[in-house]
């Protein structure tokens, strides 16, 4: 799906470069390797500006050499250069438009407390840690890996789940008096009332928690949580609710 040789202007597609073939590719290649060595050795000195210049300055030089000589941008039509330049320019606009909000952690009338807390907490420098093998064996994440472990491996805890998803409406003590429940009509179920328990049974509660209140003709504001919790989890939650029973 590209040019045919019989067409005069496109021929093999390399015509535009005729006469440019004297680039000595090997010389460029060696130059690139020398630059690579410098960019690795530069930061070893440990001075910040040397690191920046050798790491990023040299990256730009290397990219320039590859683009001009290997990709043959030099003899390419000017329109191609405009295309690439404008896409790079847009990235500059993007960076300067976004950085005041994302890179900085405070500004006029706002502070990003969460980001500051994360910076404050820091990441333990565990260079040796990586060398220690016992941690690799038990699969435990060092340092900041904790959160990941929470997401992936913690056994289900019904009380905790109640605290995260149920308590905002049903109240921390199950009284149907959570802050978010204040504005719902009808009000959230009160697990501390005997009437509630008289009117329901395990199967009905299971259905409501799994498929939502609307499935049993109750308030549609009670969402179905079957997406988040499997059947065993829901049964554990029901057991937890029974602890509120008067």
């Amino acid at each position: 799906m590209s040019e045919h040789t019989e067409h005069p202007t496109t021929a093999t597609g390399q015509d535009a470069h005729d006469g440019e073939h004297h680039t000595n590719y090997f010389k460029i290649y060696v130059t690139l390797l020398v630059l690579l060595v410098i960019s690795i050795l530069g930061p070893e000195i440990g001075i910040l500006w040397v690191t920046l210049v050798t790491a990023f300055g040299i990256a730009f030089v290397k990219a320039y050499l590859v683009i001009q000589n290997f990709m043959h941008l030099r003899p390419e039509k000017v329109i191609v250069k405009w295309m690439l330049a404008s896409s790079l320019l847009l990235m500059g606009i993007y960076f300067f438009g976004v950085a005041p909000d994302v890179m900085k952690h405070e500004g006029r009338n706002w502070v990003n407390m969460a980001a500051m807390a994360v910076v404050e907490r820091g990441i333990p420098l565990d260079g040796e840690h990586a060398e220690e093998d016992e941690h690799a064996d038990d699969g435990e994440s060092p340092g900041e890996g904790e959160e990941a472990a929470v997401v992936a491996e913690t056994p289900f805890n019904a009380a905790q789940a109640y605290g995260t998803v149920c308590a905002s409406c049903h109240g921390a003590a199950g009284g149907g008096d959570g802050p978010a429940g204040a504005s719902t009509t009808p009000p959230p179920a009160d697990f501390t009332s005997a009437d509630f328990w008289a009117a329901t049974n395990d199967e009905r509660m299971f259905q409501v928690i799994k498929n939502g209140g609307a499935s049993q003709g109750l308030s549609p504001m009670m969402a179905g949580w079957g997406v988040l919790y499997d059947d065993d989890d829901i049964r554990q939650i029901i057991e937890h609710l029974k602890t509120f029973r008067p």
Partner: protein, 571 residues
């Protein structure tokens, strides 16, 4: 839906199939690389999705007008379903209706014909683009029926709501929505490269840059805008996908991420996206206006340059969607300035379109009515945008129904009016038959009048402080009293939807029994009218491809007997 497209096309010109050596039988339609066939696939898929999106609008408007009742054909709308409906209505109408119809369908159909080429430069990439698009269509439709329901976090999909399933309760729906959108982007990246390269390289001999019809220019400028703006959002979509599925924290503040970053990534794409769909519609309208006013354009180059200027400026304005979303207030001032500046090229573009009418001999048939109504209605959408671009006024108007009415006054003219204008104008070329003008006019008035009756009340509601995406306003004492406006909007919507039946009836009737169109029913200049209707595979005989001698809008040239002068006639 692609099935319907192919069947209609089959009947329409089943006899010229001998011209090509591609796959035979039914495969010929599914596996075709012909740009016209792919355009039809996009067009009918887009129209089908338009019906889906329209049905969603009907359901949630019914809920707003008559809260809690069982909506006919749907049932009682729960809050979760309401959110899923508004989210998917927005996503579908923009990504699966406006983009495929205006850019992909008209772009595929018109660009090769208008520049005198026999196909797109990469026909197989073109087919791949549609196939990826089709997968994304199936994905978004399937996402509505999975456990937990469709994604309900608005089409902007702001995290943490979209990133964490304990907040949105639709872990599967949200991920499928995101994948569908990402696939759609990939499809349009492939299609876009094809459009751009085709226009740049495959023009007929003699066709210089300023001999290209405006609509082809506009589709290509739109494709370039899309390509250059969507990158950060593709990167963002991958990050959000990882947040949703494997638990990274790119947008989770507790773990060092930042939800504001997503807003920037989204709107860096989201604002140029408005112009991505606007420009093709403008191009279609300009072509139709020139043809039926029998006028040369008032300033062809001005139009191209204002379109480019709008496109360039659109990259500098994105944060006006986030004035009160937590960005630094000092940045808002910069974005106010750039946003208001964008009104200058857009105003110029509209002035030039209006000025083209001066001195014309205006024939008011169906395509022309659609084209003119685009100008009249889009003007309302344009001027109401100034209120929202002015940061001070946006404090009050942000996220109210005023915003909603504003962008429907831009997107409705773009996606619906622009599509109907283009469809009725090129219908004779696509199917070889003339459309019924009387039915067309009934459909036109039956769409335009209810359209205004839907959205003018919503302007009032917005100024009254009613916010978007709330499924039942009875919870707010100050808003409950404005119920009659909501009922008016809903009733108008139902009337408008019913009038669309006239359109489908007109299509079927004209396609089966309409008058034969001939090559050039509108006496237009551009190259697509110099071949048969519908054009055969390859568009022109391979040894008689057209040559171009002049610009596309040489109407009513003094000293010529005909009031048109096709581009390919040697003088």
């Amino acid at each position: 839906m692609a099935q319907a497209a192919t069947e209609i096309h089959h009947e329409a010109h089943g006899h010229d199939a001998h011209a090509h050596h591609g796959p035979q039988g039914i495969l010929k339609y599914i596996w075709s690389t012909d740009h016209k066939m792919i355009a039809m696939q996009y067009l009918f898929t887009g129209m089908f999705m338009g019906i889906v999106g329209g049905f969603m609008a009907y359901v949630f408007r019914m809920q707003l007008a008559f809260p809690g009742v069982s909506v006919p054909l749907f049932g009682v709308v729960s809050p979760g379903e309401y959110n899923a409906l508004v989210t998917n209505h927005g996503s579908i109408m923009i990504f699966w209706v406006a983009m495929p119809v205006l850019i992909a369908a008209f772009g595929n159909y018109l660009i090769p014909l208008m520049i005198g080429a026999d196909d797109m430069v990469f026909p197989r990439i073109n087919r791949l683009s549609f196939q990826i698009f089709l997968v994304s269509v199936l994905m978004i439709l399937a996402s509505l029926f999975v456990s937990g329901g469709g994604f309900g976090g608005a089409w902007t999909s702001y995290p943490p709501l979209s990133a964490q399933s304990q907040y949105n309760l639709t872990s599967i729906g949200a991920t499928m929505w995101l994948i569908a959108v990402a696939l759609e982007f990939v499809a349009f990246l492939l299609g876009g490269i094809n459009f751009i390269v085709t226009l740049m390289n495959a023009r007929a001999p003699g066709m210089k840059a300023y001999d290209i019809p405006v609509v082809a220019w506009m589709i290509v400028i739109a494709s370039i805008l899309f390509m250059l703006s969507v990158g950060p959002l593709i990167a963002g979509a991958i990050m959000l996908l990882f947040d949703q599925t494997i638990g990274t924290g790119f947008f989770d503040p507790a773990r060092g991420g930042d939800p504001i970053l997503w807003q920037h990534l989204f709107w860096f794409f989201g604002h140029p996206e408005v112009y991505v769909v606007l420009l093709p519609a403008v191009g279609i309208v300009i072509d139709i206006v020139a043809t039926f006013a029998r006028k040369k354009l008032f300033g062809y180059k001005i139009m191209i340059f204002t379109a480019v200027a709008t496109g360039v400026l659109s990259f500098f304005v994105w944060a006006h969607h986030q004035f009160i979303a937590g960005i630094d207030p000092r940045m808002a001032n910069i974005f106010t300035v750039t946003t208001l500046l964008i009104s200058v090229p857009i105003a110029e573009l509209l002035f030039v379109m209006i000025a083209t009418l001066y001195g014309g001999n205006i024939k008011l048939n169906t395509p022309m009515l659609w084209a003119l109504s685009f100008i009249a209605e889009f003007l309302i959408g344009g001027v109401t945008g100034i209120f929202l671009g002015a940061s001070g006024a946006d404090i009050y108007l942000h996220d109210t129904y005023f915003v909603l009415a504003h962008f429907h006054y831009t997107f409705f003219p773009i996606a619906i009016i622009g599509t109907f204008a283009g469809f009725t104008y090129w219908f004779p070329k696509m199917f070889g038959k003339m459309m019924d003008d009387r039915l067309g006019k009934i459909h036109f008035w039956g769409t335009i009048i209810p359209f205004n009756m839907i959205f003018i009340p919503l302007f009032v509601l917005g100024l009254g402080g009613q916010h978007r995406r709330i499924y039942n306003f009875q919870n707010f004492p100050e808003l409950a009293a404005m119920q009659p406006f909501r009922v008016l909007a809903t009733v108008s919507l139902i009337i408008m939807l019913l009038f669309q039946l006239v359109f489908f009836w007109n299509c079927i009737k004209s396609w089966r029994g309409g008058a034969k169109a001939g090559r050039n029913p509108w006496k237009a200049n551009t190259l697509e009218w110099t071949t048969e209707s519908p054009p055969p595979h390859g568009n022109w005989p391979r040894d008689a491809m057209p040559r171009v001698y002049r610009g596309p809008y040489e109407y009513s040239v003094p000293g010529r007997e005909d009031d048109y002068w096709p581009q390919n006639l040697p003088s």
